[in-house]
Symmetry: C2
Subunit: 387 residues, 2 copies
């Protein structure tokens, strides 16, 4: 009977651990230790550490539609499916030699990964991680393979991505998983280096490293092709030193305006999304990296490249003024807002901690020890387009 009770106690502790809502969970990337921490935002605590995930520099995460599993995309081509309920690795696959992010299809059944080497996109079953499709990014007469960047999901079970070496945008329709369909847009500009899709899944925008401007594809009107916008954007003639390329997926949209990191300049650009022209500039503390809107669009939070990466500035999107400056510590790499915006989490890499701030009072609410933290990703992403 004693043994029975012990067994029962163990079972109870296991089941208590597992049975919980997953809507307030998230993952912190610990890039130096090949691990992630599973966290929750209701009380701002860390629940568990999961190790053995390979090279997590520049790692990113998407979530299963039931918000139970985190798909972690490592730099070394590793694709890991982490069970948030028990911290186990439910599946893992080394799917290429060098990869840079991924996406989950609208229906949640497919995971796509963009690879540098060999250049292309590979698609896996979200449940088993078994291969479903392999899309080599071949181009030109000699069938060279291009690095792929800026992979996002779009409605109708499509994935959209850009080819760095080829200067192309491809739309991959996976609505019939046995018959992947690729639509190629050529000559979109030199060296697309990152891309984003608007929150409604309509506009795909690639930044160009090799020339001024950006490339815009309107997925509601794909027959109109790709057009060049924002010719003042990009490296251009001025050749300013760029310490770190800004992340385009950090674009903030508030009302009709997008708030965009300028490249190499201490400015946030204001873009009028009605006509995709520049509508103004806001002077900021350093070279912006992420420019992210609080979910209600009232504030935009900005972090910076070296030597200013210890600072965050907060812009009021109505007055366009900087209303607050924080100095959390060296190496503020990433920010993630709680889904309804009352708090924001910041990775402070060199201080080995993640900090949580109230976005109204700017008061620090919590600090969580973490080993060289970088990306922070909450499960509410499961329900959004293009993340």
């Amino acid at each position: 009977m004693k043994r029975c009770l012990l067994f029962v106690a163990l079972l109870i502790s296991a089941s208590t651990l597992q049975a919980r809502g997953t809507g307030d969970l998230g993952v912190l990337i610990e890039r130096a230790s090949s691990s992630v921490q599973i966290v929750e935002t209701s009380n701002n605590t860390s629940l568990k550490r999961v190790a053995g995930l390979g090279d997590l520099s520049h790692a990113s995460v998407v979530y299963s539609r039931d918000a139970r599993y985190a798909y972690v995309f490592g730099r070394d081509g590793g694709l890991s499916k982490v069970d948030l309920l028990d911290g186990s690795i439910a599946a893992r696959r080394l799917q290429s030699g060098n990869s840079i992010g991924g996406a989950i299809s609208q229906d949640g059944r497919l995971i796509a990964v963009s690879n540098y080497d060999p250049g292309g996109v590979r698609v896996f079953d979200a449940h088993s991680l078994e291969p479903v499709a392999d899309i080599p990014a071949t181009y030109g007469d000699d069938r060279a393979r291009s690095k792929v960047i800026g992979l996002v999901d779009a409605p109708d079970d499509r994935f959209v991505f850009a080819l760095w070496d080829a200067g192309e945008i491809w739309v991959l329709d996976m609505s019939d998983r046995d018959r992947p369909q690729v639509t190629r847009y050529r000559n979109i500009g030199r060296q697309p280096y990152d891309a984003l899709i608007t929150g409604d899944g309509r506009y795909y925008i690639a930044g160009l490293f090799g020339e001024d401007g950006m490339a815009l594809l309107d997925l509601w009107n794909p027959d109109r092709g790709v057009r060049r916008i924002l010719s003042g954007y990009g490296r251009g003639e001025q050749k300013l030193p760029v310490y770190k390329m800004p992340h385009l997926e950090g674009w903030a949209v508030a009302g009709n305006y997008a708030f965009v990191p300028a490249i190499g300049r201490h400015e946030v650009l204001l873009i009028d999304m009605q006509n995709w022209t520049e509508a103004g500039r806001i002077a900021v503390h350093g070279q912006p990296i992420f420019v992210m809107a609080r979910p209600d669009g009232r504030q935009v939070w900005v972090n910076f490249a070296l030597p200013d990466n210890d600072t965050i500035e907060v812009i009021d999107t109505q007055s366009l003024e900087i209303v607050h400056r924080l100095r959390p510590g060296k190496g503020v790499l990433h920010m993630e807002f709680e889904p309804r915006g009352e708090e924001v989490w910041l990775s402070v890499r060199d201080e080995n901690r993640v900090e949580v701030y109230d976005t109204r009072s700017f008061e620090r609410k919590a600090a969580i020890p973490a080993s060289k933290p970088s990306g922070i990703f909450f499960t509410a992403r499961a329900h959004r387009i293009g993340l």
Copy 2:
């Protein structure tokens, strides 16, 4: 030992049942039987029925921030907290004689309910359902109490609602739960009958039954007060027979336009949200009730009042044309899109079933038996403002 095994088997079955992600869950209201069904959208199945929830006509639901609990607001003043993992009623309180919906605060810690009788708003602790605040909707010299309608949450832990009898809008600031602060806006128009807040939590708009037009409060600029908009909207001079008042929370926003049910007319109105004026009208099959946008904003689905409540029409928001008509059966009362929009669920009350459609092919994917189903609510609402 046999008894031990049996006990263990029971425990295992209980714990297996409970451990799952909650991101793909939802609730269907069964109004005739005082019950709800817990459903999941990954395979489109019903998981469990929960009974004993009182009068559920016109019932609505909000979710806890961890997406584990559904708060069900009944018509009889019943407020029930349903645990989606095991189908139990975690807490229940009969908090008034007659109520009409509720909301959850931005931080997820407070539940507010709007009451007809006695008129006012009561606020409860989201964990325990213990009372936190009682805000009687008193007005005028004789301190009469008004029915309260259109209760929504807004950023900064505020609730906004309107007083039918008083013609007022109140903003209740609960950021300090021990010191509720009310800001009153008087003379906003006669008989506000329902209201909505835009997805960013900025604009609160109340429809007026007693006169033409609507009342708009810009929560980013509350000192500007409430202004009257859309003077052609509402019952006005024409006194058309209105078979059922449209629901304002169904307003669809796509790009800069809001798609709005006309009152008493077979039309959907197009509102330019830049200046809050009418920008066009789309002829539809009947008197629209809910006008809801697919999450990507590309389609708007419309259901209708009697005698046309067997029909759904789908408007393409780019061409403004009706691209599809479905006839699921009598009594199509409510629609809910899956969070990324690939499927939509419809309540078909008089056929005692809920149907699931692919929004791209319009193919019916599933039918779930339900007893006089009305509202459908998915857990992704936990992460949105103003729902």
